[in-house]
């Protein structure tokens, strides 16, 4: 399916170049419709605004540690738009765009990073999204298991799972790709290769030329796409999704991208990377690129864009206020969800804690 884009031949799939021009030579690849393009663009805008607002709230002391998404938006937005809404979406932690594609309220994302577990209470039947996974790559086996369950139930649903370049070093990555290969599990493994794992550059992470080529060692195909090109991301994901749905098994997609911001708000990237490098990557910003395209194609006007951004900002502010005013988690709730039914030993501990807190509060 990706015959012409074998990463072992040094190929990378790009459809939209840095100047917003769509490559007209590439044939037979699923393209976003104009309506989808606009939708993608809008989602990218709100993602960017929401993300920047979170960073700025952190500086104001109103938001604990937060991992910015800036520069990587096209990856999760493009790929989520290529699958169905009831396909499973298994997050790493830098897929805010994808969450918004799924219709997860932005306030939930903020709520999570405000340190409230209710921010991960996505109704599975409604969203088909797994919570953010903090231990790197440990969510990959879950994706394979979910895919197996859907195969077993013959639902024709597939699973789309994310991790990072650093995450490819973890044993879970290997075991998950291997299980998926053997089970022919309908999974798309999407690696956001943003060139760093915190401070560790990609070449210290693995000696392979690309991440995509790792798939072949598991008996399936890998493809590298320009992760800042939403057309390429979407096309590859769409092909992989169709392939999986038809019983063809897993695909590995490497989104070649860059984190423009810090690893988290607690990180200072100037310690480990050159300004020059960041500057170069800024030119490849997925939003700038798509903006040029939609303007060129007259899908939107400058004015409308301005309005859109303003509204996005407002939306982000409102979502944060909503999250910030959400009821705080109670002592009871820190106990209640340990098990379905609270065993006596926990009930007793809860009583004791209540007793202790009485003297405190």
């Amino acid at each position: 399916m990706f015959e012409n884009f074998d990463p072992r031949d040094g190929k990378r799939l790009q459809l939209l170049d840095e100047n917003g021009n769509l490559n007209s030579e590439v044939k037979d690849l699923p393209l976003l419709t104009d309506i989808q393009v606009l939708q993608a663009y809008k989602t990218m805008i709100i993602t960017r605004e929401a993300d920047e607002w979170a960073v700025s709230l952190n500086r104001q002391g109103r938001m604990p540690t937060y991992p910015p998404v800036k520069g990587q938006e096209a990856n999760s937005i493009g790929s989520l738009m290529a699958v169905n809404n009831d396909d499973w979406f298994v997050q790493a932690f830098r897929e805010l765009g994808g969450l918004l594609v799924r219709g997860v309220p932005l306030s939930m994302h903020y709520l999570y990073f405000l340190g409230n577990e209710m921010g991960s209470h996505y109704e599975p039947k409604k969203y088909h999204v797994l919570p953010i996974s903090v231990p790197i790559s440990s969510q990959l086996p879950h994706a394979v298991g979910l895919a197996y369950a859907e195969l077993y139930k013959k639902t024709n649903k597939i699973t789309l799972v994310f991790n990072g370049d650093g995450g490819t070093s973890v044993g879970d990555f290997h075991e998950s790709l291997n299980f998926a290969g053997v089970w022919k599990a309908p999974v798309i493994f999407y690696v956001q290769n943003n060139q760093y794992a915190i401070s560790v550059p990609r070449h210290h992470q693995t000696a392979s030329t690309t991440i995509a080529e790792k798939a072949f060692g598991y008996g399936f195909t890998g493809v590298q796409v320009d992760g800042n090109d939403i057309f390429a991301v979407h096309a590859a994901s769409r092909i992989a999704a169709d392939h999986a749905r038809k019983g063809g098994g897993p695909t590995l997609i490497e989104g070649f991208t860059y984190r423009l911001g810090a690893h988290t708000t607690a990180d200072d990237p100037t310690r480990y990377r050159e300004d020059e490098e960041v500057k170069e990557w800024k030119k490849k910003d997925p939003i700038i690129r798509l903006e040029k395209y939609v303007l060129n194609k007259k899908l939107i006007t400058e004015k409308q864009i301005e309005k859109l951004k303003k509204e996005a900002k407002k939306q982000a502010h409102a979502a944060f206020e909503e999250a910030d005013s959400f009821q705080k988690e109670s002592l009871e709730n820190t106990f209640r969800y340990t098990f379905k039914n609270m065993p006596p030993i926990l009930e007793e501990q809860l009583r004791q804690r209540r007793e202790l807190e009485r003297g405190v509060n």
């Binding site: 086996p141 394979v144 298991g145 077993y152």
Partner: protein
């Protein structure tokens, strides 16, 4: 009724429940065609097909991790870890995901799954085939840890574990797998998780054990009774959440406590039982609460394993000392 060994009771529980609930799947290393190296899953693949009982690649971490995915996807996986000494690669999945998914998502996603594994020593096995590290699991919030010691309890507890809405680590005393048979009902039945069993009533000493060590504990209890010492024998059955009420009631009656298990002493199961009892039955204790457990050493290879194991006469001897104790 049928007379079954513990290992046959495991198989019987799986048979019974897989028939009842088609969302149950079971997999692990050599679980399919082979039917498990101990024959726990024998005939399951033949009966329920390759989709419901199958071999996985060799990776405990992924066995547990994919099982969790299946559980979140609506199945009820029961996975086998070939020996408890090989569960450690899956530790991260257990402690960071399996045990936390309900809490993390405030109940939106749960992990109804069972991780079965043979544990215990004394069978002259290779390195890492004799482990009793249940205390590690007991310390992890969000999972239940169950250890049966009889065929009857095995079937009832395993069915409870499978039906439980929360993840259960189910540790099987492999030393007793084929040690004896017991009448076991053909149909499904449950034994509640979280409740200890009183195996023998007694008044002078509370003897607590579980799993593989119950054999020696029973023998010791009988010998003690012959000697005129009335020991109350409790089979803990659930390591977490353990049955405080039964333990405390017994200790308040007998005033003396001995806890026996195979695993290492420090930070072990006996430590928890004794710490709890020392606090909650402080005024009732008439002798130092005592543990007779494995040492803080690595389980020896076969030629010296008898030095590690707790033998019946050692329990008797220790029990006598406790009963004789005068402050």
């Amino acid at each position: 009724m049928q007379a079954l060994t513990i290992i046959a009771a495991v198989n019987d529980a799986l048979m019974t429940e897989m028939q009842n609930d088609k969302n149950i799947v079971t997999f692990g290393e050599d679980v399919g065609v082979e039917g498990g190296v101990f024959r726990a899953t024998v005939n399951l693949q033949k009966k329920f097909g390759e989709r419901r009982c199958f071999d996985s690649p060799l990776a405990e971490n992924a066995i547990v991790g994919t099982a969790l995915g299946m559980a979140m996807g609506g199945l009820r996986p029961v996975v086998e870890i070939q020996f408890s000494g090989f569960v450690y690669p899956a530790f991260n999945q257990i402690i960071t995901h399996v045990s936390r998914m309900r809490n993390r998502t405030r109940g939106a996603l749960t992990a109804p799954m069972v991780i079965r594994m043979p544990y215990s020593g004394g069978i002259r096995a290779l390195e890492l085939h004799s482990e009793s590290m249940e205390a590690l699991f007991g310390h992890i919030p969000g999972i239940k840890v169950v250890i049966p010691s009889t065929p009857y309890d095995t079937k009832g507890l395993l069915i409870s574990a499978i039906r439980d809405e929360d993840p259960v680590i189910f540790m099987e005393p492999k030393r007793l797998y084929r040690a004896f048979k017991q009448e076991v009902p053909e149909q499904a039945y449950t034994i509640p998780i979280g409740r200890a069993g009183i195996v023998q009533q007694g008044s002078q000493l509370t003897l607590i054990s579980y799993g593989s060590q119950m054999k020696e504990a029973k023998e010791a209890t009988a010998l003690l009774h012959k000697d005129g010492i009335s020991a109350e024998l409790i089979d803990l059955r659930t390591i977490y959440p353990y049955d405080k009420a039964t333990i405390l009631e017994s200790v308040k009656k007998t005033g003396r406590l001995l806890v026996v298990h195979e695993g290492p002493q420090s930070f072990g199961v006996a430590a928890e039982i004794i710490a709890m009892t020392s606090k909650d039955a402080f005024e009732y204790l008439e002798a130092p609460p005592t543990r007779l457990t494995g040492a803080d050493t690595i389980f020896p290879l076969p030629s010296a394993e008898h030095h590690y194991m707790i033998h019946t006469d050692q329990i008797v001897k220790t029990a006598r000392q406790i009963v004789r104790y005068q402050p």
